[in-house]
Symmetry: C2
């Protein structure tokens, strides 16, 4: 590989492609679940791929990790017990632990190798793994959620790969029923929900499955994410009761820095473009 | 070329790449200014490239064209005379002419072949070219603006390619001085300003050049745009006076449909993420 090689992810479901200019391959491991590759890029720092799909770059992961955590945590009235299903790169865990009110954050990813690679090539994402409030598990998130004590959780964050392979079981009614049971009455579920430009059907289907599991209110928040197909991504929040009461004053007064998230960005993301809101209506 | 071919634009300045799955090449023309290619894609309709850079797809051009036109036109108090420099695909012209108050919209693109290709492969973008308020010119936009009557224009839209090749002269003080002189006192200049994620320096430099030309207030609005590098793009507004008074009530009451633009999207875009606002401060 030369200094001018380009690494592309050709994303079949959308017929679109994302790529980065690569300096060299740094590592590759075949775990029991998936193939993990690490490249050094010219402009985006390190890049992690799982089964050929871009997962994380040093430069742009803050967009995804901030939006997977802070909107849900600043919507829940008082999040203390948080669980992350997936999220093996530990970036979402780090953001969750920025909230001083969080008493415990469990991260349950099936693949230990993702975290081992993150520790080596994205150490900044793992800097809070030693926090006494953090518990980093390598286990089946579907089983973990099934066995969770009913009404024990405030926020469940599903930080998964695409709904194929190991993550397929994280997008259906059975899993969402486990989440529903494990959440307290005012609990919030948030899940990465792919590109609102080309995968609106997936978002609709996910919301429908969440609805069958008992969730009654949904909120899809778009955000930019260059390393994912189309460069525009989303997370979807679900809760048992009605409405999402954004704790705007607390978000404005937060005592930690963010690069993308802000109270205004959070408010803005709640207004969907007409073509998205019409499709989800 | 087979049905499974992928066409990539490897964007050197950002070290990132965008691509689409292509069915076949439909056309190619070498104009006096640039090479224009048209492809049929599997999922994005037709795709136009200029000198190898993605310009327009059938599926996602509404994002760019709506954001290049409606925010500026709903900020100016009463836009009557509008000029588009570049914009040869005619999509911005179509959006401008949706505003019933616009009395005249001139489109001045140096390359007639861009419009000829758009008429053939993106006819929906050209559907307003016959509007009696429209004037479609093929001429040098820099010279046109230099010769424009002082204080004659309400809104100038610079809908250009990247600041290399034919568009290079559209990003400097001399051109902005011509715009400043041609605009009325309450006039607004809006220009496409590349990716806020990787080309923040370019946005800063553009705003500095606009400032040297006399403009005093700036507003950069980000929006998603999958066919451009990083999938996240921006336009930058500039005016002579202070502040941008968004005519929110008029935007809410608009009598034409938009797919991405709305009063709420416009408001949301005015809140920049911290890493962008800090860089532009």
């Amino acid at each position: 590989m030369t200094a001018s090689d380009w690494l592309h992810e050709n994303f079949d479901p959308a017929g679109s492609s994302i790529g980065f200019r690569i300096k060299r391959k740094l590592d590759e491991v075949q775990s029991p679940f998936q193939k993990i590759e690490i490249y050094a890029s010219t402009d985006w720092g390190n890049v992690m791929l799982i089964d050929g799909a871009m997962m994380v770059t040093t430069r742009d992961n803050f967009l995804y990790h901030e939006m997977m955590s802070h909107p849900a945590l600043f919507t829940h009235p008082d999040p203390k017990n948080v669980v992350i299903i997936g999220g093996g790169d530990c970036g979402t865990l780090r953001e969750v632990l920025r909230h001083p009110g969080v008493a415990k954050a469990v991260q349950c990813d099936i693949d230990e190798q993702v975290t081992r690679m993150a520790e080596k090539y994205f150490p900044e994402l793992c800097e809070s793994n030693g926090d006494p409030r953090a518990e980093v598990l390598f286990d089946d998130g579907i089983a973990w959620m099934k066995n969770a004590a009913p009404g024990s959780l405030d926020v469940v964050i599903v930080d998964s790969t695409d709904p194929v392979g190991p993550a397929e079981g994280l997008f259906n009614k059975a899993f969402f029923e486990s989440c529903f049971r494990a959440l307290k009455d005012d609990g919030i579920l948030v899940q990465q929900s792919e590109s609102p430009l080309v995968l609106l059907d997936l978002i609709k289907e996910m919301r429908a499955e969440m609805g069958k599991a008992g969730f009654t209110t949904f909120q899809t928040l778009p955000f930019p994410q260059p390393c994912y197909p189309t460069g525009w991504w989303s997370c979807t929040l679900a809760r048992k009761g009605q409405g999402f009461d954004f704790r705007e004053a607390d978000a404005r007064a937060k005592d930690f820095a963010t690069k993308y998230y802000s109270a205004d960005i959070h408010k803005g993301a709640q207004s969907l473009p007409p073509f998205v809101s019409e499709a989800l209506a």
